[in-house]
């Protein structure tokens, strides 16, 4: 599959938001500034690369696949410490590791790393796949937030307002993506 095909697949049929249930919450769920978008894509690409290579060359040969979450935790702490040191050197404040605002991002990064790391073996595809999966997530959250904004204008029954409506909208998106996957991408070898 070409890189363009890979990006389309990970944006639609293989989208991590619907396949892994990573539904964003609140009105800021789909909001990304340009710099944070680039940082998120880079983080996803590097997480996929590091996790994929470590899984393939470190854990699998020794039959230690079960240690993957410990490995990812170590990678996470290492990356966070490096980022914190960099920001401190630049004189910028950094958020603490236990900041609740970072939890959803951590979850998405691990889901991307798990999804891509187990699917590809080459360095290039791990990098591109990680970034494409993150891009697909950002696009899907943007679609979902646009749907939610539009639905605010509609007369929705009171019990369905808020979280239930968000999940119903995600369900319809998942159906649409599954249709694209079944009709097109599942016929390709990935």
């Amino acid at each position: 599959m070409s890189v363009i095909g890979l990006v389309f697949y990970l944006t639609l049929g293989g989208n991590v938001m619907v396949q892994w249930g990573l539904i964003p919450s609140g009105k800021k769920g789909g909001a990304f500034s340009a710099s944070s978008l680039v940082a998120f894509l880079a983080a996803a690409a590097l997480a996929s690369l590091a996790h994929g290579l470590a899984f393939r060359y470190l854990l699998s040969p020794w039959g230690l696949e079960s240690l993957a979450p410990i490995l990812f935790s170590a990678l996470l702490f290492g990356a966070f410490a490096a980022l914190k040191a960099l920001r401190t050197a630049l004189g910028k404040p950094s958020r603490p590791l236990h900041d609740e605002g970072l939890f959803p991002t951590t979850l998405v990064l691990y889901a991307v790393a798990l999804s891509i790391g187990s699917r590809f073996s080459s360095t290039w595809l791990l990098l591109v796949g990680g970034a494409a999966a993150a891009l697909g997530y950002v696009a899907a959250t943007g679609f979902l937030e646009a749907i939610m904004e539009r639905l605010e204008l509609e007369r929705v029954p009171e019990p369905f307002r808020g979280a239930p409506l968000r999940f119903l909208s995600a369900a319809l998106m998942a159906l649409a993506f599954a249709g694209v996957d079944a009709g097109f991408f599942s016929r390709l070898s990935i």
């Binding site: 979450p69 019990p159 239930p164 159906l175 599954a178």
Partner: protein, 194 residues
């Protein structure tokens, strides 16, 4: 994490939304039980370490140790699952690993700030049991809706009733209906109190 419009307490609903990665994958009883047990063990380990580690370590260090502890427990759970049922392990290992990074577990890794928070450890443990039970029940319900039967053996599902419930979309629909029902119940309870 705020997932509703503020008219219903965000706690339980928000945590159920945080469990969505597990609920979406839990489409059979065996998968649901495996994921529920993995989640509960990771959640309990994280909560216990965050509670018992000395406060002088500082919140970032306690968080890091608790998360590592939860990851170790998830690794052990995955190893046990591999011995118990290799096919189930192959199908579920990604989600078992991901259970460490679900929002309830990450929140449990944060050291309690106040004495009253510390005294609610049993309550947190009961919530963990409830979330694990919910994951298993979701699996059983989705399996029944999708195939018309519930089987304790992984991969033994036959028949077709409403196949959409085996897909992620089916999980989202179930979560939405459950959340709406929860809001109605809360509203009714509050109405009867006033």
């Amino acid at each position: 994490m705020t997932i509703d419009d503020g008219r219903v307490p965000a706690g339980p609903l928000a945590s159920i939304a945080g469990l969505a990665p597990l609920l979406v994958f839990s489409n059979s009883l065996s998968l649901g039980v495996a994921l529920g047990i993995a989640f509960f063990l990771a959640y309990s380990a994280a909560g216990a370490m965050a509670l018992l580690l000395p406060a002088r370590l500082g919140r970032p260090a306690v968080f890091a140790f608790s998360l590592t502890g939860a990851a170790v427990v998830a690794s052990l759970t995955a190893s046990a699952l591999r011995l118990f049922d290799p096919f189930l392990f192959e199908a579920a290992y990604g989600r078992v690993f991901l259970s460490v990074f679900t929002l309830p577990v990450l929140r449990a890794c944060v050291m309690p700030e106040t004495v009253s928070d510390r005294e609610r450890a049993i309550e947190s443990l009961l919530w963990g049991v409830g979330y694990a039970f919910l994951t298993a029940v979701t699996g059983a319900v989705r399996q029944f809706l999708a195939t018309g039967a519930v089987s304790t053996r992984f991969g033994a599902e036959h028949g077709s009733l409403l196949p959409i419930f085996a897909q992620p979309a089916g999980a989202f629909i179930l979560i939405a209906l459950a959340a709406a029902a929860f809001k109605v119940v809360i509203k009714a309870v509050r109405g009867s109190e006033s």
